[in-house]
């Protein structure tokens, strides 16, 4: 699949940037004329991925979160969210709904939301090195009612 347009942004792992990240990505994806629901799905999934970088990957320390968004042929948006944090030891367990290593205020739904709100999710992680989450969604859009 050919990339027709792309955007890169790097933010510090500060929680105040969660809103910035989801709005930036969804604004960029707006060129595909998504429906309100599609846009909301993208915002929610990005918010979960970026929150994971802040609360899990970097925990008490601070680091950079690398976000790239590609527009592919056929109205597909592909978002990569990468950190150089602690990595995930057991990806399968991390992706299990309602599992959270932090407990308490975290619902353990981050990956479940990403999986259900996007078409595809790929998680690559190396303990001690970092994690890349790739999210993909086809935008059917406002003008595609067939």
């Amino acid at each position: 699949m050919k990339v027709t347009n792309s955007m890169r942004t790097i933010v510090d792992s500060r929680s105040v940037n969660e809103g910035f990240a989801r709005v930036t990505v969804s604004t960029f994806a707006s060129q595909l004329d998504p429906t309100v629901e599609e846009l909301s799905d993208i915002k929610t999934a990005v918010s979960e991925a970026v929150t994971n970088c802040i609360v899990h990957a970097y925990r008490e320390k601070s680091g950079k979160i690398y976000i790239s968004t590609d527009i592919l042929d056929d109205s597909i948006v592909r978002i990569k969210i990468r950190d150089r944090g602690c990595g995930i030891d057991d990806i399968q367990q991390a992706m299990e709904p309602l599992y959270s290593s932090l407990g308490g205020e975290r619902a353990g739904l981050g990956f479940a939301v990403m999986e259900s709100f996007m078409d595809k999710i790929k998680v690559r992680s190396t303990p001690g090195k970092g994690t890349t989450v790739t999210l993909q969604k086809k935008i059917n859009g406002k003008y595609n009612h067939d």
Partner: protein, 105 residues
């Protein structure tokens, strides 16, 4: 983001507005928990009418308050969840796992 409270006969109504994410949830949680410990309500009603965005932090917020209310033998209800936000609520299964009743707008 503004959180308003209304306390009637041991029923604590909390009117939330704006966006709930991991960032904003921290302050919202502290405000609500302060009120709960002051007023010791029988029932906590979280009104999501004016929520414009929420991710799973909005669910964590409910679950955490539910646990706190249980510790003082109180109940929790979530009301007026806008359709756009209901998708996360449905996915969470919070209506089934906890004794939290969730009403859609």
């Amino acid at each position: 983001m503004k959180t308003e409270f209304d306390n009637k006969n041991k029923f604590l109504f909390v009117y939330l507005s704006g966006e709930i994410d991991h960032h904003s949830a921290i302050d919202i949680r502290m405000e609500i928990d302060k009120k709960i410990s002051q007023l010791k309500p029988k029932k906590l009603i979280l009104d999501y009418s004016d929520i414009t965005f929420m991710d799973s932090s909005g669910i964590g917020l409910i679950m955490g308050r539910h646990r706190l209310m249980q510790s003082i033998a109180g109940e929790t209800e979530v009301t007026n969840v806008p359709p756009k936000m209901y998708k996360v609520v449905k996915l969470s299964g919070i209506e089934k796992i906890g004794k939290v009743s969730v009403k859609q707008r």
